[in-house]
């Protein structure tokens, strides 16, 4: 079942089109990545889901229902611009924010106790936020976001400003939540940070979705058929007798030996290449060159802008 469906969303600011005909479907229980450079329109889309902004046209459905203020309490949102009241006490503030989401005081208190202990910040309950380190403040923000057990969690640039330890803690908690049934939307321009945990992604550029689908499928569609072999040559004839049918893209000296980047067309077989190498050299490493989401993004952007240019011509 699809938790969130966006149909033909358009949003225009002053003299700037923020979203153009956005159609997205986010399956329940998935981790969905909204990727794209700064200013692409990701945050605007997220703010529309959170009902902070209204769309100019189009509709959004959550669990099959048209988006409505009552849905606020089933969404947890960690915005990119996030902070806390500096002068307020941590516990008091967490309870206030939880109650604004619709939790009762006692419910909020119980939940918070659990999470504060889990994240090892229990001792800080009665301290002012300004006394906390940035990492601890981020933990508090994260707890407050997920406390009311939202069905849909939205993280805008979640890892910006997190240290690696906290970022890992966050990742594993997010996967935990997904396993318990939550649907998660990630929005980030830092694509490498989320590609490993996203099930599906949408690439947004200049207000439009330019690519959407399962991460595995996208990667498969963008295979380059390039392979890297690292080896220590054992016979001098390695290069001279190298089979011609393999197109060598690049030759490199490495610390351990030599490296070749070779194109192998789909119909061909990698075994033939491996056999040759194993007979003529000591094989150190053999791997397929998998394009990163970043590479795919750049390629897609270039293609789409070429297309529009061609279209204009």
């Amino acid at each position: 079942m699809d938790l969130l469906v966006a149909q033909q969303i358009n949003k225009k600011f002053e003299n700037h089109q923020a979203l153009t005909d956005i159609n997205l479907t986010i399956p329940e229980g998935s981790i969905y990545g909204l990727l794209g450079p700064n200013g692409a329109g990701k945050t605007t889309f997220i703010r529309i889901i959170n009902q902070i902004l209204g769309q100019d046209s189009g509709s959004i459905y959550i669990g099959g229902e048209l988006l409505h203020p009552k849905h606020i309490k089933m969404i947890g949102y960690l915005p990119e611009e996030r902070g806390l009241y500096k002068k307020m006490k941590v516990g008091e503030q967490a309870i206030y924010l939880a109650m604004l989401k619709g939790l009762s005081r006692s419910e909020a208190f119980q939940q918070l106790k659990h999470w504060f202990e889990k994240f090892e910040i229990g001792n800080w309950w009665d301290r002012k936020v300004e006394e906390l380190s940035k990492g601890m403040q981020q933990k508090v923000q994260f707890i407050v976001t997920i406390l009311h057990k939202p069905k849909l969690l939205i993280f805008d640039e979640p890892f910006s400003g997190f240290d690696p330890i906290n970022a890992n803690l966050l990742k594993s908690e997010i996967i935990n939540l997904r396993d318990k049934g939550a649907t998660i939307i990630f929005s980030t321009h830092n694509m490498s940070s989320v590609e490993e945990i996203c099930d599906r992604i949408a690439l947004i550029n200049q207000s439009k979705v330019i690519l959407e689908g399962k991460v595995a499928e996208i990667k498969n569609n963008h295979r380059t058929n390039l392979y890297q072999i690292e080896y220590q040559p054992e016979s001098l004839s390695f290069d001279s007798s190298f089979p011609n049918k393999f197109q060598v893209i690049e030759r490199k000296e490495t610390l351990m030996g030599k490296q070749l980047t070779v194109r192998i067309e789909k119909e061909q077989n990698t075994t033939e290449l491996l056999e040759y190498v194993m007979n003529h050299a000591r094989l150190l490493q053999f791997q397929e060159v998998v394009p990163s989401m970043n590479d795919i993004f750049i390629k897609t952007v270039n293609n789409s802008s070429n297309n529009t240019k061609n279209g204009q011509n």
Binding site: R47, I52, Y77, P79, Y96, M99, V144
Partner: protein, 439 residues
């Protein structure tokens, strides 16, 4: 609705629990009470008695000065030059020199002193000499002293307003002016203090970057109204505490200094009587009647209308302006950027305070009417008019317009607010704010 209550509670509690609030609440009444008590107290302890030596070349006045508690007179049978030379040995603080008049009566006198003689001494001597001179002149014209006493008069002008229903109401301009001014100034301060508090609160939420977390849970309008109402309650709490504490302190002080106060009142009465010229039983009754009149003035104040009007304009004046203050706060990133947007708000407020005198001198004139009708100036202007009595329809019109003004300002502010709170970075221009409003 529950969410707005939560917001109001937070805004209220965080401010009321602040140290600065508690300090201000305690310090305010102490300062106010001190302002009321200090003059009384100081006049009792520092009744620095002054001795005035008189060198009277004219020979008219030697008997004309009556000693008071703080001024003692002593005739010096010396030439003025000798007196000046021996100033330090004479044991007097001042030398009053009345020179030989060139024509019948002197036109001026001179006070010699090593220090400033002080207003009290000067004015006492001036009044005293003037009274004596008047009597001397009249006597010289051959008018009998009994007649002089008889023609002494002090007339009171009482204005009585004839109302349309035929009843009469006594008017007391001085009392009305003081009442109106005090109430108007109180509203002025309240609007500025607490309006700025709302503005700072909005800026704080922006700079702490918590605003987007909040508006994902509640509507921006709820957030804005919650803050405005919460701060209004803080203001009312502080005001109420000030009134209660000030009254307690003043009453307490009056009780503690009871003896000095009665003494002082007697002194005052005595001084007045002496000034008005001496030993006249009719003057005593005049004093009594003045005291009665003061009592009468207080008892005839239309308290329900004035207190009701004050609370109304106090509240709605604040609500109208604080919505606009919130809009300003949402548009900027820090307090220094607020200056240019504050100007349109401060001008009408300062204008109504500046024109307070004009309103009071012609409370039913066109200036007063318009200032007390336009919502931006009416909280202060109408408050100055109310003690003088305002036609019902004008009051109703003004109140309706303030309420409408509040709704309009809130609607206008909310539109700017919901865009402004998500804007970071550059300082907006008026043009951009107008665009946010139109959006």
């Amino acid at each position: 609705m529950d969410k707005i209550k939560l917001i109001i509670a937070r805004e209220y509690l965080t401010r009321v629990k602040k140290k600065s609030f508690i300090i201000m609440t305690i310090l305010g009444p102490i300062l106010m009470a001190a302002l009321m008590i200090a003059p009384v107290y100081f006049s009792t302890i520092s009744s620095g008695e002054k001795t005035v030596g008189i060198v009277d070349e004219s020979g008219f006045f030697t008997a004309g000065f009556k000693n008071t508690n703080s001024i003692k007179f002593k005739t010096l049978n010396l030439e003025i030059d000798d007196a000046k030379k021996n100033y330090n040995q004479l044991g007097v603080d001042l030398i009053l020199y009345i020179p030989q008049p060139s024509y019948t009566f002197p036109h001026h006198v001179i006070l010699f002193s090593s220090k400033q003689p002080g207003m009290n001494v000067e004015s006492y001597i001036r009044t005293s000499i003037n009274n004596d001179l008047r009597q001397l002149r009249l006597k010289k014209e051959g008018i009998a002293p009994e007649i002089i006493e008889k023609i002494k008069s002090s007339i009171d002008v009482n204005t009585v307003k004839l109302k349309e229903d035929g009843t009469e109401e006594e008017q007391m301009a001085a009392r009305d002016l003081i009442l109106g001014l005090v109430a108007g100034i109180a509203i002025y301060f309240f609007i500025f203090m607490y309006g700025a508090m709302v503005m700072r609160g909005v800026i704080e939420e922006k700079t702490n970057r918590i605003i987007e977390v909040l508006v994902s849970s509640v509507k921006p309008f709820q957030l804005m109204m919650g803050k405005i109402v919460g701060v209004a309650l803080v203001g009312l709490t502080q005001f109420l505490l000030w009134v209660v504490l000030t009254l307690t302190l003043v009453t307490g002080a009056q009780y503690a200094f009871k003896d000095q106060l009665t003494q002082l009142q007697q002194d005052n009465i005595q001084t007045v009587i002496q000034t008005m010229s001496a030993n006249n039983p009719t003057e005593m009754t005049f004093e009594n009647s003045a005291a009665l009149e003061a009592l009468n003035a207080i008892s005839t104040i239309n308290f329900p209308v004035i207190i009701g009007g004050f609370l109304f304009y106090f509240l709605f004046g604040y609500l109208l302006y604080s919505a606009l203050f919130a809009a300003i706060g949402s548009a900027v990133d820090n307090e220094t950027d607020t200056q240019q947007f504050m100007l349109p708000l401060t001008v009408p407020l300062i204008l109504s305070i500046m024109l307070a005198q004009n309103i009071a001198s012609d409370p039913d004139g066109p200036l007063s009417f318009w200032l007390s009708t336009i919502p931006f100036t009416s909280p202060i202007a109408m408050m100055i008019r109310i003690p003088f009595g305002v036609p019902m329809w004008q009051l109703a019109l003004s109140m309706t317009l303030v309420i409408l003004g509040f709704f309009a300002a809130t609607w206008f502010a909310a539109k700017i607010y919901r865009t402004g709170i998500l804007m970071y970075g550059k300082k907006p221009t008026y043009k951009e704010i107008w665009k946010w409003f139109r959006h």
